[in-house]
Symmetry: C2
Subunit: 365 residues, 2 copies
């Protein structure tokens, strides 16, 4: 088992990564001080539950915990206020109190939803993340939790740190291939923003990662989590630095919106967004070569780097304007300076971004 620490003063917590950790959930919950007199709640989804819910319930019961479960439909649509209210109903009917914990067993959707429940049930209870996707190495660290509003993603949320993250890499073996690649997109992003060697390591071990080799996977998740944890420790509530985690996300979020949050997975959309950011970097005068190197990494991980021809540039630009304000034809953008280094540029011309989006479609400029 590898252990990382997220340093956040009195809100610090450990991330445990390894094979077969799920069966140690009860024991580690005791170690983290979770109260054995209260009832606790596991939130999971209907694709994860058949594989892992019973084991999670049994290890907690064996450790003396009383637990109830709530299973939501798999998919982004469960990050809604309606599902949130349903989970709250289960929590109230189950008699959860101020000393209860909410366990998120699943990917980023379950983590964000259950985390928002934990942040707001009786004004906040204990939260545990048990990520079961690769993408969730990103979403389970940092304490951002949220549900979506019909008009915009992640609009309703909080910062609520878990008391531990328990990452059993064995649970990843049942992941569909598209979700594997999509999760690796955030992993290589962590290299691209802060760790050149790790970015190249991801490319060089792409085959191992894609076939879920436990050694490669554990190392990649540990390094990805460590980079994220480091940024979050320095800027818990996104005052400044934390924004670098959004590399590829400005264009990526627009792509997700235009695809109605179903056509592209989050990791796929930000892969295209990272390719776009690299193009933009070169356009703004950064080293030639950033784009080619970035794209070679993304492609090695079976990730898309271009927009399908039927996606409209106008729609992408409109969605982006909705997300970030364009002030006098300029916008804020995370721009690669090299592989492993980015900067926050506040006055990127919107025209340059538009030009990049056109290039992502393979249109001549």
């Amino acid at each position: 088992m590898r252990t990382l620490h997220v340093e956040l003063g009195e809100r610090s917590y450990p991330i445990y990564i390894g094979s077969g950790l799920l069966e140690r959930l009860g024991e580690l919950s005791i170690a983290r001080g979770i109260n054995r007199n209260s009832t606790h709640l596991i939130v999971t989804d209907d694709k994860v539950a058949p594989h892992y819910l019973q084991q999670a319930e049994e290890t907690l019961a064996a450790a003396g915990y009383s637990v109830i479960s709530h299973i939501v439909p798999a998919g982004e649509s469960s990050k809604s206020l309606q599902t949130f209210e349903e989970v709250m109903t289960t929590a109230i009917q189950g008699g959860l109190d101020r000393s209860s914990a909410v366990f998120a067993l699943g990917g980023g959707v379950v983590g964000d939803l259950a985390g928002f429940v934990a942040a707001t049930y009786m004004r906040g209870v204990t939260f545990v993340q048990i990520p079961t996707t690769i993408l969730a190495h990103d979403s389970s660290v940092g304490g951002k939790v949220a549900v979506n509003h019909p008009l915009a993603k992640n609009m309703i949320g909080a910062f609520h740190q878990p008391v531990m993250v328990l990452y059993d890499v064995n649970t990843l073996l049942t992941l569909p291939p598209r979700d594997i690649s999509a999760g690796l997109s955030e992993m290589v992003k962590h290299g691209l923003i802060l760790d050149r060697d790790f970015a190249y390591w991801c490319r060089d071990h792409a085959a191992d990662l894609l076939r879920l080799d436990p050694e490669a996977l554990s190392y990649g998740l540990e390094r990805g989590c460590a980079i994220k944890a480091d940024v979050v420790s320095k800027d818990e509530r996104e005052g400044g630095l934390r924004a670098i985690l959004n590399l590829g996300h400005t264009i990526g979020h627009a792509i997700e919106a235009v695809g109605d949050y179903g056509r592209f997975l989050h990791g796929e959309a930000i892969s295209i967004g990272m390719a776009g950011s690299a193009m933009l970097a070169e356009k703004l005068g950064r080293d030639k070569g950033i784009y080619e190197e970035t794209v070679s990494m993304l492609k090695a991980l079976n990730l898309p780097v271009t927009l399908p021809p039927d996606v409209s540039v106008d729609d992408i630009m409109a969605a982006m304007q909705h997300d970030k304000k364009f002030t006098e034809g300029r916008m804020v953008f995370i721009v690669p300076e090299a592989i492993g280094a980015v900067s926050i540029v506040k006055d990127v011309p919107v025209d340059a971004v538009r030009c990049v989006v056109e290039m992502l479609k393979g249109e001549s400029v």
Copy 2:
């Protein structure tokens, strides 16, 4: 203008109390650093809006702010997830961003609802309280915000401190008499828990307070806010001490629930609850006289101190069990030790509480 400070480290904020403060809202918002480049949102209700919304909008506009408003129906039923989502829709459509502020113009209902919006819109934006009820001298200080779940009150919420509380006592002139008394109930509670002289002052100035004499009212609100602020500074997230603010609330919440949150105002219910706590104190061996003195204060403020005959003792006990757990026939209770002093007693026999509820109905024991 009287100014109080709530000391909470980097979350410290001022409470301004005085006549005619509403017209200074724009100026004070600038002083508190509220950003003039973002759009802001005023949340109010349909009984408060006709009196005060226009003035609030105008003073903000005159100070250079761009503001939109959302008016909810008056009453507890607006503290729902549905209304919450509607306010969120207005915020998104109005283009509020991370630097926006939410202004709560109204009583505790508007404050709790708008505060929960501010706590969760984009994971938290600036919050300003402009209380317009006497009760809100309590609810606007301390950062507890929440909406109700159909199964239980205040179940979904957060701790989110305002950046300022602006209390214009002139706005209280339009309050209905029942709401005046209900608000004074929390005021005298602040005396009963921590300040003997203030409790007697409330009784001796009951007539002035009931007719909203500006001097008496400003002093009473200042002292009430100061006591609350002091407790909150010492225990922001209700780890221990803060529980003393719940004097009368264990029985009071049960009374509200049994009256379907409509029959009794919150302040009325806790007045009956405080009478009950005083009875309980004597039953548990505290000084004779606590009950009589407490009741004289509550009656002076036109507050109820008994339960109507049709209320069922069983229903009250069931509602209480739902709120607080009874462990082995015992429960936690805030018990008066004298006028101006209380303690948190962890092992009050449920039977003694039942007996008190029977006495509150005037039944022989």
